[in-house]
């Protein structure tokens, strides 16, 4: 018993030594492996798929490598999927519409979220935490369920129409559901917390004496906001905007459920190519182009951050 205890201890200390020695590489390594496994590998699969040809088989695409010749495999790259995205203007229109919706929603989220975050930061004591909790609370129920709830609210016989009818503002229901407005409402509702939370985190660190210093030097509240508060909260604005813009561009559930077939968004198109048309290569090409569209603003953000850190 004692002997095995001893060896266990020795083994353990050896193990911890190794761990300690390699802790650095371990700490760097874990996210690296994570990214490799769950981002890069799937991305390359999708990239590979996007250059394949669609066939009626299982799986419904050709292989890029043809081993039939023996020796070296032949690589057959099919660019048709990308060409098709350019040829049929449906795709371009859908991309542009997605971007338009995502940008508009990001701006609306910013306009609503900024004063809300500011208000929460300025609130003292427990109320602040209650307000924060209210922002996070929706995450505790299923996202899908909440979108269904919005269907109930926006429907012809839904809550909004009922109230407006009752108050006599309208005499027949106005169409909200399956209209673009429903998609805007849904996306803004869904992603507003992602705008508020980074803004809150940013504003909380803001030193109130800076605002006082500005006022002391003759800046009225408006001028103080534009010369001190806004520039100081720019990192929060950028982080929040990216957190809203990126998922909103590829959003599928909201346009599918609240927009019906009437609102063109890239997420819905991708899903229908994948599920309805079984054209996996084309769906993959759509996804790759979407990724490029989304990565560009990310890189821009990094440039901005890097230049800020340098100056």
């Amino acid at each position: 018993m004692a002997a095995s205890d001893q060896s266990l201890k020795r083994w353990y200390s050896k193990f911890t030594n190794v761990v300690h020695r390699n802790l650095r590489s371990l700490i760097v390594g874990i996210p690296f492996v994570w990214l490799l496994l769950f981002f890069l590998v799937p991305f390359f699969i999708v990239l590979k798929l996007s250059f394949a040809e669609s066939i009626i088989a299982s799986p419904p695409f050709t292989s890029l490598l043809d081993w039939s010749g023996g020796g070296f495999p032949e690589i057959s790259i099919n660019k048709d999927n990308y060409l098709y995205l350019i040829e049929d203007d449906l795709y371009l229109r859908t991309y542009l519409n997605s971007l338009k919706i995502a940008i508009t929603c990001t701006i609306i989220c910013l306009l609503i979220g900024y004063p809300m975050a500011y208000g929460i930061v300025r609130t003292q004591g427990t109320w602040r935490y209650i307000l924060l909790l209210l922002i996070i609370l929706p995450f505790w129920t299923s996202f899908l369920l909440r979108v269904y709830a919005w269907m109930g609210i926006l429907a012809d016989q839904g809550t909004i129409n009922d109230i407006l009818l009752y108050l006599g503002f309208i005499d027949k229901p106005i169409k909200l559901l399956y209209k673009p407005i429903a998609v805007y409402i849904g996306i803004v509702y869904t992603y507003l917390p992602f705008m508020i939370l980074p803004l809150y985190a940013n504003m909380e660190k803001l030193d109130s004496s800076l605002r006082e210093a500005a006022m002391d030097l003759g800046a009225n509240p408006v001028s103080t906001f534009f010369t001190v508060t806004l520039p100081m909260t720019l990192p929060g604005i950028i982080a929040g905007s990216l957190l809203v813009f990126i998922p909103a561009t590829g959003e599928f559930v909201v346009p599918d459920l609240l927009g019906g077939g009437n609102v063109l968004m890239i997420g819905r198109l991708l899903s229908s190519e994948f599920n309805a048309n079984h054209d996996w290569p084309l769906a993959s090409a759509i996804a790759v182009v979407l990724l490029i569209v989304l990565v560009l603003p990310m890189m821009l953000y990094h440039r901005v951050q890097a230049s800020q850190a340098n100056s």
Binding site: D207, L210, E212, A213, A214, M215, D216, G218, A219, P231
Partner: protein, 393 residues
Amino acid sequence: MSTQASSDGESQVDYTHTPWLDPSATPFIQIKNINKQFGAFTAVSDVSLDIYKGELFALLGGSGCGKTTLLRMLAGFEKPSSGSILIDGVDMGGIPPYERPVNMMFQSYALFPHMNVEKNIAYGLKREGVAKAERTERTKEILNMVELAEFAKRKPHQLSGGQRQRVALARALIKRPKVLLLDEPLAALDKRLREQTQFELMNIQEKLGITFVVVTHDQEEAMTLATRIAVMDKGNFEQIGTPAQIYENPRSRFIASFIGSANLLECTVVEREGNMYSVSQSSNSQAILVEYDGDLSIGANVTVAVRPEKIRVEKRSAVSSAVADGHNQLNGIVKEMAYLGRLSTYHIVTENDVMIEVTSPNQARYRDGNHPIDWDDEVTINFAPQSAVLLTE
């Protein structure tokens, strides 16, 4: 105060350097019965104060006594719970900070981190709508004054603590406000730079004629800088006066021990002859003679305060007959001695077991390196009746 006696014998007083003594002068800043509550806590309680144009006024007090709160009320960041503040005759109630003729240098500097030194300093002028050319000119001028010209393009986080402080000072000064509020302006500086900046501040103040209100918890700094000092304690003014008034005529035990050091002896009045009071610590101890202008009855409890440097100490064997007249002369033994070069400090325990601190200048040179008065030496100390102060508070 300089007094000019005219030839016809009628004396006329010149108040230019001592406006607070001029009964006809109107104060520049009038603080009237200001009270500030934070919930149930009273940070500043019912204080009144007049500050005159061109003064360099110091608010002195320990941590948490309400100095910053008072300054913030002057700047307009904090609304008094009651009372009013007048600056240059205008009631500041309801006037927001950005419309007050006041600039403040913050305890934390509060430099804008996203602007470089130049932009930080020019910020106030830009808000005022000063033209670009003049802005650049004045910024350059003040950058030279605080010796930061070569750092104009740096961001605050690329500066040392002392440099940041000078940026903060320049930023507050550039608008040439009527009143400049400085919250512990020199706390971050080392001793040498602090002394240098103290004199710089005094120069600036004299040159620009701005009224300064300086908060400090460093009594030496207050004594060096200020025309007058208000000593604060727990939200109250304990005493307001010139450095010399406060040092030589402390109003209370708190002031006597807060400003400089003092020997405080609890006594009762035993005898009075005109303004000469004879007090003693207990019935069997030797009486102490103190000159006092107030009116005290026999048996009243008082405190005798004597500054350590106002007491003479001599070796018992060397006591000259001139001072050996019995007045305030006590025998004791040196328990502690510290040689500080310029002067020496002694802790002397007297025959009735009271510890007295005495400092005495080392006028003669001790060529052999031996101190004439040393540990455990029997000594005699004495002080003039005019050198001690009787305190009743």
